[in-house]
Symmetry: C2
Subunit: 394 residues, 2 copies
């Protein structure tokens, strides 16, 4: 008699996006032909850049040719891509070796898989509001979870707690959903805390390409001692529009050792046991992102989204609405007006001005009373949504 | 202080392919310009078929166009592909619903991930000789492993043991490395055993496209009661040459329930928590495999490999060498001559006739004295290797 993993029964149902879909569907049924301005979903809308498209076509052609055909790829990533990513770090002044880079199918996949490196007795600390999968993946593993709530008083950038310790620390900066980003001084405190406690930081850097402020680190390895305590998980999803194309990368430094075991070497063993590598075609497309031409082209798309952010921030500034994010991140996190709860604000925006956002409550209890806008929509929709929002908030 | 997953320290080093690489490298260093006939690696060599190439190019073009661009895919698989795969089952007379099919990045990835559904106290039974990752993935999870040895007396197709029980049963048919395949009557005994013991079978069907014999089931769901006890894991790697392109699929029937928990629903939750789906581009390429044109084209490649198998089997028949496989599988598993151990036979083939195969010992202790040939090489190499082998074995 097999026993299922009973921890699945402890997962809370994930109603957030389901509820949003139900509510918008009901609205459209009651208002046939209505147009909705969707600032809710965290998915990109701009197509892949020409350099990536060209590389993908060339890689497909390789797979059609018996001389150029690629079978199994190295499990930890194609050398051409590991080198390109490591050189991208080194060009920014962060000394990462090629073999410290692991190619993945994306950050979400990796955030689930990487937990296999740690004993189930280890505790996980999640700074909330947070991407719900951080918590859920640890519930499935039966780990004790410490919810570290954050709020407006710290700008949603809390300091390490003095009286609470955890083995695994989730840090997402720039943050989803709040758009807040730790500066070097703030993040150094977390690195020091992790080294003091012999914890491991899982640093989600999925939004680093949106950073403008030179005081905000793009990589945790810009901080002293981070190679002794941090795994960095990154993605091309938002950087280069790969949400549906799927590619990411993870850095595990050789220096990251606990109880005499190297997490780097363990991950090599994990990948060679449990995967056969990432698609050759997609890795070729990903490598094009790191060429000078690819970098120039992805910046154009990022600037497009940043202009969307500027339009929304201007509106919030003019209406005196408190918010964070938007400057170094593709998300804007605002305080709902008049002490409104986040689902009421959702309903009001939908019914009054046909704008769809994401209620903060979906990212943890301390997100109640806040609301997330994504800047990944079209310019036209963002502009019209901003106009309607300005009239609504006044 | 975080504790690593200490089970990694219990993994045996995987020397098989490393040793093969070292030995061939040493041979080539000592014999500059020598040509090796490689029948060792289980990787395909024929390019992707034209229907798949065309679909991949079209999908890349979609990603270049803002109107046709695809962002995040449904986590359990694109509906167009889930339907195409389920229809493929139904056309063979196996009633699988679309939503019982989950798209994966490949069978090896899925075989690792799927273990998350089961409690770590569950025991795993592996029929050996076996693909080494079955054992290693369970070592990492800290599971007790029952090694069920098989041998020539059963044609490497053992019956369920009367006195031993396990919660998870690994069955790979047609088998890697032996090429042996259970017929319906034999496999029904395993299904009955699983239902009697309330176990779950992980059925690795990666080589089903090579089956010729109508008595060999392509899917475990051709057996009575299998939907109550089996998960089927399949792949396009060998079926359609996707080893480096990466795509697979998994069937979890709605009926597969233990202790009131539905493994189907748990897997939906796993995928939505821990992945963001498989690349749109690759899924479009995979869907082309299931069109009439794609099916015709992949059969041509499979026939090419089957002709390689026939050439090698003819040689073994003529030399009176015992073997199994080859007929319903891309692998041939032979008894080393004169009671030779498998590494000695490896060395002899390399040094005497420059043919590289895989020593059976690498697939478990009971593989000692046997040897695996792959049929995935070129025709020319296979023919020359067969000629040399015939002279050598005589």
């Amino acid at each position: 008699m097999i026993t299922p993993n009973l921890y699945y029964a402890e997962l809370k149902d994930s109603y957030l996006f389901y509820h949003i879909a139900q509510k918008t569907k009901a609205y459209l049924a009651a208002h046939p032909g209505a147009y909705l301005y969707r600032l809710g979903i965290g998915d990109v809308t701009r197509p892949l850049c020409p350099a990536v498209i060209q590389a993908l076509h060339e890689a497909v052609d390789d797979q059609a040719d018996s001389q150029r055909f690629h079978g199994y790829m190295p499990e930890c990533g194609a050398p051409f891509l590991r080198t390109a990513i490591a050189e991208h770090y080194r060009a920014r002044g962060t000394d990462i070796q090629d073999d410290e880079v692991f190619v993945s199918s994306g950050a979400s996949d990796e955030l689930g898989d990487i937990l296999d490196l740690f004993d189930r007795s280890s505790t996980a600390m999640v700074i909330e509001p947070a991407y719900p999968a951080y918590v859920d993946a640890n519930v499935i593993a039966g780990r004790k979870i410490i919810h570290l709530e954050s709020g407006r008083e710290s700008g949603f950038l809390p300091e390490p707690p003095e009286d609470d310790h955890a083995d695994l620390l989730y840090i997402c900066s720039p943050n989803n959903p709040t758009g807040a980003a730790f500066n070097k001084k703030q993040l150094q405190k977390w690195v020091d805390y992790a080294n003091t406690n012999q914890s491991v930081i899982l640093f989600d850097a999925a939004y680093e390409a949106f950073i403008e402020d030179p005081e905000i680190p793009h990589s945790i390895y810009e901080l002293n001692g981070a190679k002794n305590c941090a795994i960095e998980i990154c993605s091309l999803s938002k950087t280069a529009g790969f949400t549906g194309t799927r590619l990411g990368y993870t850095v595990i430094p050789q220096k990251l050792i606990r109880q005499g075991m190297s997490f780097h070497d363990m991950w090599v063993r994990n990948r060679t046991t449990k995967t056969n590598g990432v698609s050759y075609i997609i890795q070729k497309g990903g490598a094009a992102v790191f060429t000078p031409e690819g970098q120039r082209q992805i910046r154009e798309n990022i600037q497009y989204y940043k202009e969307n952010a500027r339009i929304l921030m201007d509106t919030l500034d003019r209406t005196g609405t408190w918010y964070c994010g938007g400057k170094n991140a593709p998300y804007i996190w605002l305080k709902c007006p008049d002490g409104m709860d986040s689902w009421t604000f959702f309903d009001n925006l939908l019914n009054a001005i046909q704008v769809v956002g994401t209620p903060g409550e979906g990212f943890g209890a301390c997100g109640e009373g806040y609301f997330r806008f994504s800047t990944f929509g079209s310019r036209e929709d963002t502009q019209e949504a901003a106009r309607r929002l300005e009239r609504f908030l006044e």
